[in-house]
Symmetry: C2
Subunit: 150 residues, 2 copies
Amino acid sequence: MDDKTMQPLLQHMLCLDLYAANQAVHRVYKPLLAPLGLTYLQYLVMVGLWERDPLSVSEIGTRLGLESNTLTPMLKRMEAAGLITRRRDPGDERRVNISLTAEGDKMRAAAGEIQRCLMEATGRSEAELLRFQEDLRGLIGNVKRAAEDG
Amino acid sequence: MDDKTMQPLLQHMLCLDLYAANQAVHRVYKPLLAPLGLTYLQYLVMVGLWERDPLSVSEIGTRLGLESNTLTPMLKRMEAAGLITRRRDPGDERRVNISLTAEGDKMRAAAGEIQRCLMEATGRSEAELLRFQEDLRGLIGNVKRAAEDG
DNA sequence: ACATAATATATCGTGCACGATATAATCAGT
DNA sequence: ACTGATTATATCGTGCACGATATATTATGT
């Protein structure tokens, strides 16, 4: 008989805060990435490749929670922009390996400062962020399990 | 000289968890909203209207962090689906008032159960969710401020 | 070796997001 | 009353998201 259950209010909905958090993060990243000609999602792909190169489309997909229907067009745009190359894996012709170009690799130099800006934007210490991240990941795990089980 | 600063890793990036949280929430809502013919964002508009009716386009925009470039097409789809009406405000012809149709108002009945499912999906108590929401809102406030100040 | 299933990517259509811009209505200051 | 600024919505183009589907390649079982 709780009002919040019977009559949802936007003010109380956590999902709206998660949505707003993404919007806010997006808006901090945008001006930082604009000089590099990267979108937010393209930057996440780059971070993945700076860490390990090459990655297949599905390996990128696992990291970002996306599939080829989203990734293929995006990776083609990044290829057209000269950031990455797309080549069929000789060992398994179903796979497409994504690698950084020299230009894409050079952008790595800008990443440290971008991350510093983001950390600073949160106004939280590294320890506070870690604790929050742990909490958030627990919640994500629960929600994902609920989504799968129906 | 921290590695996490110099060389960002996807594993450490909070923004990726926020992104994943939205994906997960979206996936829980989708099957619950499909019977109503609503998308996730359309549902949020409905929640706003169940709370207060009418709302202008910009009032909806304030609540969801969106502007007419996103809302106008979406509201037109909702109008075509018979969920809402769009009428110029007689007192200020610049504004467009959005109101629920009888059909849209009836959907209110399904909202309680949907919210119950979502709460349950988080696997957290109401008190835990409130604490998390407070923490998240603090973080959003900081990030928004950083985005505005540049 | 061969038929079948599973896997990896690509394509298509619809619905957000959002910067840039356009248009019309209202407001403010003279 | 008039001009310029402000406000509210709409339009356009590009880039995600994602369900559904198609195609090609590899793996599996007989």
